[in-house]
Amino acid sequence: MVASAERPELFSGLFARHADPLYRHVSRRIGPEAAQDVVAETFLTAFRKRGRYNSAYPDARPWLYGIATRLVARHRRDEMTRYRALARTQAESAAPAADDRVVTDLTATAARSALAAALAGLSAGDRDVLLLVAWADLTYEETARALGIPVGTVRSRLNRARRKTRAALGANPLTSMDEE
């Protein structure tokens, strides 16, 4: 049996396992078109750097999401535009209504609007941590590994980001009505 010293085709398996969920995550932040580019570039970057991967870690997800997060940073303006548009659009549609169902919808809409505005107002580092935890379901340790920062930093950034988003929700009359 003659084996190739390097078998890059194995990397296709990694792509098959992670590309779709990664795309879903990235599309939340920067929309579908840019997400496609970011996902492709994430895997190419990962492939180029695969020799540096610390195989002590059994899960490649944090590593891939870390690369993707750094690539998303290049689309920061698109991401901000997206959040601000969402905040503006949903706030404008939040007209008063009497029907219970509509009120519930409006409450949800208002919450999203407030959250989108809050996301746009977070620092990049805080937002990265918050979204890796909330949207990608990474643990604190995985988030730390993804971003190359200490777990303590993850905790402090997450606390700060959560405090701000909570405040944004609380400041909105429609969302605070939900808690009464």
């Binding site: 049996m1 003659v2 084996a3 190739s4 010293a5 390097e6 078998r7 890059p8 085709e9 194995l10 990397f11 296709s12 398996g13 990694l14 792509f15 098959a16 396992r17 590309a19 779709d20 795309y23 879903r24 599309s27 939340r28 932040r29 929309g31 579908p32 997400a35 496609q36 996902v39 895997f43 190419l44 492939f47 180029r48 750097k49 695969r50 020799g51 540096r52 991967y53 610390n54 195989s55 002590a56 870690y57 059994p58 899960d59 490649a60 997206r82 969402l86 949800a108 919450a111 999203r112 959250l115 989108a116 979204l131 909330a134 949207w135 959560r162 988003t165 909570r166 929700l169 939900d178």
Partner: protein, 289 residues
Amino acid sequence: MDEMTELRDLGRALEHAPPPLTAPEFTGGVRRLPSLRGWPALAVAAAATAAIITVPAVVWSGGPESSPAASAPAQADSSAELRKQATDPATWAVGLSESGKYPAITSAQSGVDSEAPQQWDVMIGVYTSPAADSDGCEIPTDKEPGEKPSCAEITTKAVSPDAEETSVTKLLDTLTFKAQGAEADGSTGPAALGTVQETLTLRLGDAGRRGEFLDALAKYPGAERDEKATDPIGRPAASITIPGTGQSHWEIFYDAATAKYLGGRYTDGTGKEPFATVILDMAYGTKGS
């Protein structure tokens, strides 16, 4: 509803279903890790030995001093050595540890300076990263899950039945990287063999999941499955052979009916005697006990 729940809702609302994504063309060589070449010969031998026999490393219930991690390098005629160690099946039987929480195992491996099968009731799998230095990193001896190693280059995977939750996807990821990145220092075979061993003995207590993992392993590029093989001490077994760097290859032996791991063998392709380990008997821990 708290802000994290609201945020997750927002995420779902913003998400787009993935279009058919095409994998980029993955071609080209591995960007090499710092090479071991040029290190003193002793350091190279120590690192290679550590990569082989500390994955998984085993820790006696009696304490770290009994750990075979510091055992001698592989000796000639490993099969004969293993057969000698495994001559008395009556000594194989194991029971669970006192708590019943951890897997218990009796094993023998070539290169261990002992003729007696070894019994462990607490095991800690240690992955050695490709760039790990054998100096300066103590193998952790903690028995509790979740303990962090003192050295950044070594990560423990505490062995408890909870580890069964590890997904096959994650394990395949690990293998993928071991098969690629680890090639940089020539330790692909031992490292990957260690991962498979740890997976089959320590992580997957459920026969169905072991079977699933073995099926996935058999589909690994270049892998060959043989339902009528013989393990290193002559027991009938199924095997999966995985190609490594150059002429090297590693073989996984398991019971076809129960998917129980029986042992592994790594042949480096240079004519040296293969390194082998056999599991004589083992009992899986009780989840959540």
